[in-house]
Amino acid sequence: MSRSEEVIPKLEKHKLSSLISKGERIDGRELNEYRPITIDVNCIEKAEGSAIVSLGNTVSIAGVKAEIGTPFADTPNEGVLIVNAEFLPLASPSFEPGPPDENAIEIARVVDRGIRSSRTLDLERLCIIPGKRVWVIYVDVYVLNHNGNMIDASGLAVLSALLTAKIPVVKVSEDERIGITDEWVPLPIRDRPVPVTMAKIGDKLVVDPNINEELSMDCRLTLTVNERGSICAVQKGGRGSLSMNDILYAVDLALKVSKEIRSALPPLPKIEDITYVVK
């Protein structure tokens, strides 16, 4: 996917900016107000986990596939998590078919860092035979309709799909043969890091920008906040710059908004008593 440069008419941009300078938004929201979130999980039965997330008219779908594979050489006792994002040409008139461009790669990596930094997945529990066989968890996320803030829509879809995914308990024999049992259990997930993206337009920050706000913004800042209220991933994007005050204000805003969003997410699974690998 490559994204052709989209533009917004100057007049509309001007109108939108002057509204925001007065603390109002073109879709009637408060500056610090997220769009309505809906999350529909387990919609794809052939995936180990799946979720469709809507932020207003921005819609993302994520699916989890689990395979048994080999660990990376430098983390022989850990499972592998791979997050992949692509933009489908059906999602926007400005998307074109093709391999992921820098924008899709940025989203995948920002989402991935949020999950990884917060040690969301307990990768050590996804080790089956140390140094040899581990769970490889793929999460693929696709935007189906792009109306702004694809980072948060993708991050929430990935997280929701992981939260509701199930994998089978595996049985390892003495001679290290692996069998799949009939018992399916949730993934070892310990945190729900929530990305909150804010756009800087004029001298204001607006949360969860829609597409027209994105096309009018100077830059954006994504702060990912975990259950403990810590910041576990940050990404500034776009051509403009931020002041120190912008950033400090954004931290306060993200802490507050992330709590609201988290309440819409599937709950953390109970995983304390699960044995992922039996003899």
């Binding site: 052709s4 919609c43 794809i44 039965e45 052939k46 995936a47 180990e48 799946s50 008219n57 819609v59 779908i61 699916g63 989890v64 596939k65 689990a66 395979e67 048994i68 594979g69 992949n84 692509e86 489908l88 040409p89 059906l90 999602a91 926007s92 008139p93 074109e96 078919p97 391999p99 066989r133 793929y138 693929d140 696709y142 189906l144 309709n145 792009h146 109306n147 994998i167 089978p168 692996i178 799949i180």
Partner: protein
Amino acid sequence: MLVRKEVKPLRLIDEDGLRTDGRRVDELRNIKIDVGVLKNADGSCYLEIGRNKVMAAVYGPREVHPRHLALPDRAILRCRYHMVPFSVLERKSPNPTRREIELSKVIREALEPALFLEYFPRTTIDVYIEILQADGGTRTAGISAAAVALADAGIPMRDLVTAIAVGKADGHIILDLNDLEDKYGEADMPVAMMPNLGSITLLQADGEFTPEEFKEALNLAMKGIREVYAKQREALRRRYLKVREEVEGSV
């Protein structure tokens, strides 16, 4: 190593003539069609048939990029059939496979006879089909969905295009193969038609058909196509009523 495995069934048709999912040989799976589900696309359609879940979107007629592809006397039609990685039991690479490239071609050629491309010179009509879940018959589901999305985009058409697969399992000619029947059956034949015109716009097959079986299968395909066609029409009618309601409500 895959973690979800299918078990090959002992037989595909039981002594009562019923299939693994309880259907009769000439019975379709459940079909659900929603029109206009994507806000950005000019036309869109979400279609379920059995466990297949398909999203189709249409953009156009619009300017062609890169420009040298534009034709002076007609629109070009471009079509992309794509499966998302988690649509199948074993994760599929997101990159287009040879299968997807071939299917994109035959689907485009199945839709093109229904369009008046000469009405829109120098433009493109782009059809995007995403398979969100696959369970046998995704190309035909994709065609039926794409035709509805084309109609939803207001693109003039000679007729809808409607598609279904027929095949052979345990010696019976069957309608609308599911994944097991596709994999373990003896033959598979996807067919697309403009039902009112009697024009066949896609025809493929593999597996073995005697000439007689081939004709029987074609006739069964026509029966199935008529039933799917009714569902497509009904979905478009619902969409039309809803839009009218919204328009009238807003007056």
